[in-house]
Every structure is written in C-alpha cells, then in structure tokens.
Amino acid sequence: MDTVRLVIDGKEVTTAAGNTILMAARQAKIHIPTLCYHPRLPVSGACRVCVVEVEGRPALVASCAMPVAEGMVVHTKTERVLRARRLVVDLLLASGDHNCLLCQSNGSCELQDLAYELGIESFRFPVDSPGYPKDTSNAMIERDLNKCILCGRCVRACNEVQVNEVIDFGYRGGKAKIVTAWDLPYGESECVFCGECVSVCPTGALTERQAKFKARPWKLQKVRTTCAYCGVGCQLELNVAEGQVVKVTSDYRYGPPNFGSLCVKGRFGYDFIHHPERLKTPLVREKDSFREASWDEALELVAKKFSEIRSRYGADALAGLTSAKCTNEENYLFQKFFRAVLGTNNVDHCARL
C-alpha cells in the first residue's frame, strides 16, 4: 500500500494514499468538526464546516473531500479557519427554527454541539425560519424541516445506502428543501420507513415520533442486541429509560451484518415489548376459560401430566415445537429436555425456512 506523509497542525502524519485530509487527521487523533460528512455515506463536501488551510493554496479546502498529497502542510485551527466555520454555523442558526429548548434532539444535535465548540454565544443574524408545517403524516417519523440544515445526509442515506430513492433536494435557491416525489408528506409517499434518514440526520429535523417526550437523550441507556424479526440478524440498540424501551437506534460501527441499516420492523416494531396484553402470569384452563396460577401450580401440573402420558402411552406420545423466536440456548435446552428428560425425539419447529 502506498503511503503519503504530511504535516497536520505541526504533527507528522503518515496515511494511505488516496485518503482525505479528514481521514488522515482522524487517524492522528486531530479533531476537525464536520456536519454534512458521515462515515457511512458518500462524501458531499457541501457544508464547509470541515474547511482547513493548506499551505500554498489560496482558498480554504474542504478536508472531507481533499485527498492528501506528499509533503502537504495543513492547519486545522487557524483564526481564518475558525472564522469561516463560525460564519457557516451562524448562517445555519439563522436559517431555521433552532430553538433547542423545545427540541426533541436537544443534547444529541450536531449543530448544537458545533455552535458550542465554536464558542457561539448569540444569534449573529436575524432568524428567518421558513415556517413549514410539521410533517406528522405517520406514526413513526416526524419531519420538521424548519430544523433542516440541508446537509443532504438523509438524501444520501435514502438513495445510496438503502437505495430506496424516495427523497431528494427540491426547489431552488432560498426555497431549497428536501422533498419526496410531488413533495408529499412521508406518510403518503413511497417511503418504506426504514428510518435510515432519521439515523443520520444531525439535527432535530427528522426524529422518531413515538420517542417524543419519553426521555432526554442523556437519560437513555443503549443496549446493543440482535433484531427479533427476520433472519438478517441486524444489530440494533434498544434505548431504555426507566425500565422501558422508548426507541430503537443503530450504529454503523457495529459492522456486519447490517452496518447500521435497519428496516421498519427492526426500527419501529418494538411496541409489543410493553404491550398491555403481554402474558404476566401462568394460566391454567378451567373448562372454557383460564385462571391465573402460580408458577408452582402450573409447572407441577405440567410435570404431572407429561409423566402420566409418558407412563401410560410411552414417551413417543409426547411432542414439542421449539421456537425460531427463542435463543440458541433455549432451543438447545428444549431439545435436551425432550430427548434426555422425556425420552423422545419428537422435536421440531414451525418454520423450516
């Protein structure tokens, strides 16, 4: 592999040829802020937050798009760079309704973090929010385009990662807006609610609707696990607050099999966990209905009946169906129970594929 040597903020850095300045800096643990950049997405280089100075070049360059070159000398924190970044953020803050106090994403917003990092204390330009109505057309994704900074991450996520090709930039100039075909709300569009766009949106423009007012981001505990639905086995995070799963997120850094992508079932199909109809006690049949029973009573009854059947008709009069929804450990124990304890190989499961 060809390597290239360059200097970033006075530090000698060696990196693979073809890498960008941003990648080289990150490898060397030198922080360059970004906004439209996302490691899972193709580079767009549009927001200009990651600009740096390269000696010998008159204009600032976008570090996310500029490949490294041998002997390059890069400065990431000069006054000129910081002024340029501040201008970008000042303009973005004025372009929409960035009232963090009333925003679901307060505390997990990259625009907010950037304003803080750049030491921005007040709105420099008068706020001119476009005043779009919120898109509450569906139960899963809420869109408030007044908080949209047109970074285009959602567009790249939808078109290049999920390849669902549902959203794009629409209209021109000051009216520019992320749109579905015919500018319909999500609920009436071709959107399939994979939520990839939500997962990469840096602001509160795209949020999980059902998580609203459930918990502040810093109160959430994320538990990584495997999706309960199809056989892809996507890695996801259950976001827990006060003993309740309030949202599902994902992270591309978990790698295979899904590299952070999910589908609508994995991302939004979690309500069943806390559904009031969940079974909470053992039930024992009494004529045509059930009554609640203790574990002791229920399991003693099962043990007694299975033993009776076995001694009267033989072990092969018993049969069991194990579950494609249960864990490996549970499936293993279930067949062990049938084979070693009951003494029959009558074990199968319901889905042969």
């Binding site: 538990v223 696990t225 079932k265 199909g269 079974l279 003693e300 043990a303 042969r352």
Partner: protein, 527 residues
C-alpha cells in the same frame, strides 16, 4: 447461506428467485440494490410477482407458480448446449454430472416456455448472463422452498450453481434467506426430529453415547422423531397425547388450519409458552408466560450462520420468566436437575458437544458475531462454505424432474393463490400487529390482484372480496396492482381474521416436509 450477506454487494450477477427481498429481508434487499446501482452488477429476478426488485433488474422472468424446476433445468440446458459450464470445476470438484446432463437434455427453451410461460429468448439470455459471470450469487427464500417440491427446487438451484463453479468461491453461492430471526439457530441447536445440535444424527450410536454422557443419562431415544406435520397427523390419529409448544403459533402459520385446530383440540394436554395469548395458546391447558427478546440474554444465529448476542435491556412483565429458566425449572421438577447460572453457561455446554460451535464463546462474539463452522477457539469463523472441497468431498449433482402441481387452477377455482409476507408484518403478526406504526401502514389483509383479473371479475381497488379454495374461505380487501400478474393472486399470511392458510393445502414436500403453502387454486369474488 453458503456465503455471507456482505458478499452479495460484490457479486457480478445476482439471481433472485422466490424471495421478495426488499420486503422480507429489507436490509439484504439494500445490498442487492447497491450492487446493481453502484457496482454495475446484473440482476435477474425470477418471480411470478412483479416484486419491487424488478425495478432494479436487467431481466425479469415470470414463471407460472410451481414450475421452478423447469426453468432451472432449462437454464442448465442452455448453458450446456452453449458450452458455458465451468468444465474444470465440474471435473475436479463434482460428481454425477453425466446424470444431470441426461436429465436436462429434455428441457429445451421451447418446452420450458410451454411449461413456465417464460419466453425462450429470456431464458436463454438469463442463462448466458448467469453462466458468464465470474461470481454469481443465487438468493432464494420461501417462494422456492414452500412448495410440495421445495427440496427438489433447492437441488435444482444447487445444480445450476455447481455447473458454473459458483459454490465454494467468494461473492457467489446458493443462499437461502431465512424468514425468522433464529430459524437457523433452532435447527443448529437440534430443534429437529432427527439430529442433535450441530446436525449430529440421533441414529448414530457414537453420537448418542457422547450426548448421553454429556447429559448424564444412561440412554437416549434412537429412532428419528416426528416432524411438525406428522405430529399434527399423530394428534388427529390419537397417537400424540401431549404437546409442548414454545414460542410458536401453528394455528396461524400452518397450512390447512382446520386440520391443525382439530388436531390440537384432540390432545389430552397442551402446554403453550409464549409472550401473548396466541390462537394456539387459547387451545392450551396450561399457558406459560415467557420473555421477549428485549428481556433475555443469549444468542441468535442469522441466515449467514453468524452467531450474535442478544442482551437483556428490560425486565419481563409481571411474573413472566426467561424461557430457558422455565425449561430448567420444569426439567428439575421431572427428575433431571438443570441448573445454569446464565445463558453463557449453557453456551459453554453447547460448544462442548457441538463441533461447529466449538470455538464460539460470549467473549469472542462480544463485538462482532462469528460464522460457524467455528470448531476451535482460534478459528476465525467461516464466511463462505465449501472452499476447496465440499463437506462430503465432491459436490454431487442431483438431477430432478419437473412434476406438475397437485392442484392446478380449473374452471371452478381459476386463479393461482400465492401466500407470503409483507414488509410491515411478521409471521403470525403477534408482535407487528401490536406496533402502532406498522399497523398504521398495513392495518388489514389485502389481496393483490392484477388489473386484468380485477376487470374480468368486476372488482375495484379497495373492494371487499371473498377468496375461496377447496378447503375454506376468507375475506379481504382487494388491492388492484401491477405487482400481481394475470392469473395469480397474493395473500399475506399475517392476519388471523383472514388466515391465508385456511385456503392452502397440506400436501407435503416428501423430504423436507415443508407444506406447499405457495401454490393452490382459488376463486375470488366480490363479498
């Protein structure tokens, strides 16, 4: 899957058949779409429905339902005819090629067109594209296996792949996409009547001895047990008296439901362990409350054989318990103490008795899951199978012949019915139909019908219709859509109140015993 999910993105050609990938395995669907859009892979879709992937495909072949062996053999016929097979691979790595050659001889494109309705030019083009690819991946799902001849369909696909040297190399293979998250694991763990964990045959005395020793029992049953459909039949015949059903709902997911209900009602004793009171649970004598995936620790094995962690995030509601704890408790009450501290301890036992899981520990899969076979602690796992050699040494061709379906449309029942899943629901619906967002998207059972058939029958989009077969009838809302092809209607099987499986039949595949959900004849009329 012989190969890994990530490899799909690097295939030169992808052949998708009997899998509505973007709805049933949406994240894998994205791998396919990225391969096409970003890497220029060629996509061939073979499916009686105009599934969403058709929009991304170079070729779409729409065979009549139940005619898969004919088009697959037809493709092999063309490949051999034009000398496009991988001769060196066939010579060095396979056996039984002559028999295959003889078998496909009769499957000329013209004959295949008569059987399947696929125009011969399209079949020839598909064969050429597939055969010329350096690495071609075949993806299939229930549309191929849930047939009375599902096992033969899979063999035919394997023949096709082996002919072109596509098994045992990266980015290719024959790849079944598993429908439920842990069907792979349920099979791997011995949730089958004839094998222990790791597919170790119950009929092998040495294996039995090993397992008996590990489990501390003097003997284990020898003969293979009954499959699901045989259990149902056994219950009807009075031979099966007691059943324990954990986390499954055969009352909605099995074909020919009347049959299943009657069978379960005849049992002396039925125990159902689940998280909701399902249709099956309602027939039980004892119902035990289990835990959902969010409430337990353990592992699932995905469709690419990757063993991954499941982690407890919240407590089960009320007195519900993790399913493994319930089994242990019951076992101890029946005279064999099972005491494990944690699922991790169970995995340690699994790994000790299951060669393919021998190297899989919780600490190794903490960050990224491992793909079995993974026999030892220093084994990196196996992204694709049959590298350099097949498990049995040489890959064996299994010639298979096309046979007509047991039930074809006729005057009284003029349409093919095909059943399957939709994007927004899962299996019997007990989880998805309790999720607000998913229900909003797909609140009720819709039957997909082509504009041509709809017009003939005087049915409009959104009308209520009745669908009848020889076994039963259901009502649903008509969705007139281009997705359906003239002559075939599609009904999802997630809706208990309109259970598609009241219509289907239970002719079984003779080997896998998978019911023929996919093809049956129906009549649709305004309700």
């Amino acid at each position: 899957m012989t190969n890994s999910i990530s490899e799909i993105e690097r295939a030169d050609v992808i052949l998708v058949t009997g899998s509505n990938t973007t709805e049933m395995h949406p994240v894998i669907g994205s791998f396919v779409k990225r391969a096409v859009r970003q890497r220029g892979a060629k996509l061939i879709v073979v499916d009686p429905r105009r599934i969403p992937l058709v929009n991304y495909a170079d070729l779409w072949l729409a065979p009549k339902p139940g005619t898969d062996i004919a088009w697959i053999n037809g493709m092999i016929h063309v490949i051999l005819e034009e000398g496009l097979e991988d001769k060196q691979y066939i010579q060095e790595r396979t056996e039984g090629f002559e028999a295959l050659k003889e078998c496909v001889e009769a499957y000329t494109p013209e004959r295949v067109e008569k059987i399947t309705g696929i125009p011969s030019e399209l079949l020839i083009e598909a064969a050429r594209i597939y055969a010329k690819a350096p690495a071609a991946s075949i993806l299939y799902a229930m549309g191929i296996t849930q047939h009375t001849k599902g096992t033969d369909n899979v063999k035919a696909l394997a023949n096709l792949a082996m002919c072109c040297g596509n098994v045992g190399i990266a980015n290719a293979g024959v790849n079944p996409l598993r429908g439920q998250n842990n069907v792979q694991g349920a099979c791997d763990m011995g949730g089958l009547p004839n094998v222990f964990s790791g597919y170790q045959p119950v009929g092998d005395p040495q294996v039995r001895e090993k397992m008996a020793k590990a489990w501390g029992v003097s003997r284990l049953p020898e003969g293979p047990g009954l499959t699901l459909m045989e259990m149902i039949q056994g219950a009807l015949d009075g031979k099966i008296k007691g059943m324990f059903i954990m986390g499954e709902n055969p009352m909605i997911s099995d074909p020919d439901l009347h049959h299943v209900e009657e069978a379960l009602r005849r049992l002396d004793f039925l125990v159902v362990q689940d998280i909701f009171l399902t249709e099956t649970g309602r027939l039980a004598h004892v119902v035990l409350p289990g835990a959902s995936f969010a409430e337990k620790d353990g592992t699932f094995t995905n469709t690419e054989r990757r063993v991954q962690r499941v982690r407890k995030a919240v407590d089960p509601p009320g007195q519900a318990r993790q399913d493994w704890e319930i089994i242990c408790d019951l076992s101890s009450r029946m005279g064999m103490a099972m005491s494990y501290e944690s699922p991790e301890e169970i995995m340690e036992e699994i790994r000790a008795v299951t060669p393919s899981y021998g190297g899989i520990t919780y600490s190794r899969i903490e960050k990224v899951g491992l793909q079995w076979p993974c026999p030892t602690l220093d084994h990196p796992g196996t992204p694709f199978l049959h590298k350099d050699r097949f498990t049995r040494g040489r890959g064996l061709f299994h010639p298979v012949e096309y046979r007509p379906e047991p039930e074809e449309p006729d005057e009284e029942f003029p349409l093919y019915l095909s059943t399957g899943r939709i994007l927004y629901h899962y299996h019997g619906g007990s989880m998805t139909r309790r999720s607000v967002g998913l229900v909003e998207r797909a609140p009720a059972c819709e039957v997909e019908i082509s504009p041509e058939d709809a017009e003939k029958l005087g049915i409009g989009d959104g009308n209520r219709v009745r669908i009848r077969s020889r076994r039963g009838q259901i009502e649903a809302v008509a969705r007139v859509t281009d997705k359906a092809v003239e002559g075939t209607v599609f009904v999802p099987f997630h809706f208990a109140e309109a259970a598609a499986n009241l219509l289907t039949h239970s002719h079984l595949d003779p080997i896998s015993k998978i019911p023929g959900y996919k093809v049956c004849a129906v009549r649709v009329e305004p309700a």
